[in-house]
């Protein structure tokens, strides 16, 4: 099996895996970071969202070979102390319920705010539509993104 170097959260990991293995499983089962979640495996739910060179991607549908050598950021990489503006807003608005989708939600929100520091509701709809939340925390996600825009 080919060997790949994955740069996750500014750290290099050498892993030996099938080229077609989705980045999601490489991150979870080989790098050992479990914050990125599996929900559907077909780029429909967003639970597996990570950043590749700053852009949100669905890691369940992204072969590990294509991510090798690029900068990957996962939920664990956005802050040491749970104090990224988006996380602060998430806590202030008490967004998560079961919490399972929230790593993906936060990664999508972080990317959105980087591109649009003051997103409109329409911007939020567009950027967050790929992230399902079965617990239905959408209303709070929206308020928390607006709140995070103030905190940044």
């Amino acid at each position: 099996m080919p060997e790949y170097t994955l740069n996750v959260n500014n750290k290099d990991y050498k892993i030996d895996v099938d080229a077609q293995m989705p980045l999601l499983w490489a991150i979870r089962d080989f790098v050992g970071l479990k914050g990125t979640k599996f929900g559907c495996g077909i780029a429909q739910c967003g639970a597996c969202t990570v950043h590749l060179e700053g852009t949100p991607i669905r890691s369940c549908s992204f072969p590990v070979a294509a991510a090798a050598g690029k900068k990957i950021t996962t939920i664990e990489g956005i802050s040491e102390n749970i104090d990224h503006a988006v996380q602060k807003a998430w806590i202030e608005m008490q967004v998560p319920q079961c919490g399972y989708c929230q790593s993906g939600q936060i990664m999508s929100a972080v990317a959105l705010l980087k591109n649009k520091p003051h997103p409109t509701d329409a911007d939020i709809d567009a950027a967050m539509q790929g992230n399902l939340c079965r617990c239905g925390t959408y209303q709070r996600i929206r308020s928390a993104i607006h709140r995070a825009a103030e905190l940044v």
Binding site: I82, Q94, C98, G99, Y100, Y138, R140, R142
Partner: protein, 716 residues
């Protein structure tokens, strides 16, 4: 706060259990509701809820699994409030089905807080009184001069203080107060307040550990193939290609047990999950569908329609419905249909099981029922309880799905077969295809009105399969689970006859968030609207007119009327609708406003009122209702589950769609908490009245009456 989800360590527990005088444990007596301490009776004669160790460590045991509904905060806060400890300063341990924690180790039916409110407060209050007494004894001062705060006891006159840890041993030797004084609600610091949930930072940083995240040394992974057709039997399989997949280490047969069904399954075991999944895809399996592959939704719908012609079993009868209906000058009849829907928590079903020494089993699972797992698997494998350790992990959503243990059983069998810890992880396709599902209910409704619009006779007949898998099930009787709430609404009808007709169904079905009220409320409350229209009355006034006596339902409707400005005219093209539903879990109602948009409607706003009696956490309650509204909207306007060729048409979220953020309506939640002795549920009541309020609003805006879910909101 620390997320500790492991089973309590027995030796450690015994060491501090007061017998050795090393600490202080207090809880509830096993059978009764009395507060007792460890050491007072046999060590396992109590259900411990609080453990205070000499070093000041305070542990609160939480028997209610956390699946998003907030029990991780709400249950411990009942104790912490009375004990005078901050939630941030304690360890919360989810219990693992151990006998000492009693029979209530499950979450469902919105019952977690309802069932524990006074008992757990008493545990906290007793512990506090004993700690305060211990301090007074030590200082040789009158107990009245001492008070507890922030895990310490203070002496008011001198200002000196001492931590709970230093008092633990002395407190453990005192008698448990017979009648501990509970705090006056006006002094509450946690209860009734928007106390932040301690799990939220963990869940905002990827640090919360769900079942799917568990890894144990030597663990292997399994992906399990089931027949897509319900009721198929395994004929043969060829695993040659699967075994060639790199990382695949074996192929094993196992069984998925659900209710009365045992389904054949084949697991591919891999060194990593991806390998197991690739191997599973390489299996060639021959199934005997046993004729079940012709099953489809269209025929089944026809079957339910045919069944509706049967009289049915009486659910509740008052007065003489038949006579009143036949003589009524104005009649209203309608037939309502609802779909099968999936639970679809975003965390797919998974479980880690590990057998060691032949007869010791350890299970890690996202589950609603650690107590049920303990009972089922100790019995099945004939092992004593101390040989089974269950780790109740955070659940990535549950909604009723995790009341069932089919996927746990698979992991347990596979670990036994291969002698290694095994993580079973279902794919989303497995989850969508295999069920169990919320069944559909169909409703035939009839009403008789007087010429001036008075309700004279009312009938709601339910036609459905049942979620009750019991050997003694009697098809000739009504089934309270499937007629949930229809005979408990407070509307006063002089003549009423509600009926039930049971339908056969070979597809596995199950409780779903708010159970059958989610479908029946749609029929019931839409039909009340139809009656109002026939009677030429405003739907709100018509309902209030059916409620001459005081009731919580009436209060909820009056509150809805007020908060939604019901009497204020809406812009042209808008309409508003109201609905409420009371059932075992509680009571809530909505007023929803919609506006016409093309051929469909846009939801402008939803006003919700939930009636609680007592509220533990208002903000969390609002979150639960907001979430319930989203789940109800998905069930109303998305495809749900349909069947063709004996299997589900929908396989993943691309076809089994859920509401997304762009479709989220604005939901404004109001809580009625007028004190009162009745404590009602939070997690479920926000669901049932949403769809009928929406459909009633659509009628008001467009004149179109929706009698069948799901419907297309863009084309009504």
């Amino acid at each position: 706060m620390e997320q500790v989800l492991s089973k309590i360590n027995r030796r450690h527990f015994l060491k501090v259990s007061g017998i050795t005088g090393a600490g202080f444990i207090i809880g509830l007596s096993l059978k009764g509701k009395n507060v007792v301490k460890a050491g007072e009776i046999a060590p396992y004669g109590l259900t411990p809820f609080v453990m205070i160790e000499k070093d000041g460590t305070i542990t609160i045991f939480n028997p209610k699994p956390e699946m998003g509904q907030g029990t991780f905060q709400s249950i411990p806060s009942l104790i912490a409030e009375e004990l005078e400890v901050p939630l941030t300063g304690v360890i919360i341990r989810q219990t693992g089905g151990e006998k000492i924690f009693g029979g209530g180790q499950s979450a469902g039916g919105s019952s977690s807080v309802r069932g524990s409110y006074f008992e757990l407060r008493k545990v906290g209050a007793s512990a506090k009184e004993m700690l305060v007494q211990a301090a007074a004894n030590q200082w040789k001062v009158p107990v009245e001069e001492c008070y507890a705060d922030d895990a310490k006891v203070f002496h008011k006159p001198s200002g000196k203080s001492i931590g709970y840890g230093d008092l633990a041993e002395a407190a453990s030797k005192l008698d448990v107060p017979k009648d501990p004084k509970l705090k006056d609600p006006k002094d509450f610091k946690l209860l009734g307040k928007n106390t932040p949930r301690p799990d939220i930072p963990l869940k905002s940083s990827g640090r919360a550990v769900f079942g799917i995240d568990v890894e144990v040394p030597g663990m292997v992974y399994a992906s399990v193939a089931h027949s897509p057709v319900f009721g198929a039997k395994l004929v043969s399989y060829d695993d040659a290609a699967a075994k060639k997949v790199k990382g695949v280490i074996g192929v094993e047969k196992c069984q998925r047990k659900f209710g009365p069904y045992t389904y054949d399954a084949i697991a591919v075991i891999g060194e990593n999950y991806w390998a197991a999944l690739q191997g599973r895809k390489a299996l060639t399996i021959k199934w005997d569908n046993q004729g079940n592959d012709t099953f489809n939704s269209k025929d089944y719908t026809q079957y339910l329609h045919d069944l509706s012609k049967q009289e049915g079993a009486i659910d509740k009868e008052e007065g003489d419905f038949d006579k009143a209906y036949s003589e009524a000058p104005v009649k209203v009849d309608a037939f309502y249909e609802t779909p099968v829907v999936s639970h679809s928590p975003i965390e797919p079903m998974n479980c880690v099981a590990s057998w060691t020494d032949g007869d010791k089993l350890e299970i890690w699972a996202s589950t609603q029922v650690p107590g049920g797992i303990m009972g089922e698997f100790t019995k099945k494998y004939n092992i004593p309880e101390e040989n089974l350790t269950i780790h109740t992990m955070f659940s990535g959503g549950a909604f009723g799905r995790r009341l069932y243990t089919d996927f746990v059983g698979e992991a347990v069998q596979l670990s036994k077969a291969i002698g290694k810890p095994v993580k079973v992880l279902w794919t989303r396709e497995d989850d969508t295809e295999q069920g169990p599902f919320r069944p559909m209910t169909f409703s035939a409704l009839k009403a008789g009105l007087s010429a001036d619009g008075k309700a004279l006779a009312f009938q709601h007949k339910v036609i459905s399969p049942t979620i009750r898998y019991s050997k003694n099930y009697d098809k000739t009787k009504t089934d309270g689970t499937m007629t949930e709430g229809i005979s408990e609404q407070k509307y006063e009808f002089p003549n009423m006859k509600n009926l039930y007709v049971n339908a056969d169904f070979h597809v596995p079905v199950a409780a779903w968030r708010a159970v059958t009220s989610t479908t029946l409320a749609f029929a019931h409350e839409s039909f009340i609207d139809e009656m109002a229209v026939k009677a030429n009355k405003d739907p709100m006034e018509f309902r209030l007119g059916l409620l001459t006596k005081d009731s919580d339902t009436k209060t909820v409707l009056q509150k809805l009327k007020e908060v939604s400005n019901w009497d204020k005219p809406l812009p042209a093209g808008w309409g508003r609708g109201v609905a409420q539903y009371e059932f075992f879990a509680g009571l809530a109602g909505y007023v929803i406003e919609v506006s016409k948009k093309g051929n469909g409607v846009n939801i402008e706003k939803a006003y919700a009122v939930i009636d609680l009696g007592t509220v533990v956490n208002p903000d969390m309650t609002k979150a639960q209702v907001e979430g319930a509204a989203v789940m109800a909207l998905t069930a109303a306007i998305k495809s749900g589950i349909t069947f063709e060729n004996g299997q589900t048409v929908q396989k993943n979220f691309n076809t089994n769609q859920l509401v997304r953020i762009n479709e989220m309506p604005k939901v404004e939640v109001h809580i009625l908490a007028n004190g009162g002795p009745r404590i009602k549920g939070v997690g479920e009541p926000g669901l049932p009245p949403f769809a009928p309020a929406l459909c009633n609003a659509i009628y008001a805006a467009t004149g179109k009456r929706i009698r069948k879910l799901p419907f297309d909101i863009h084309n009504v």
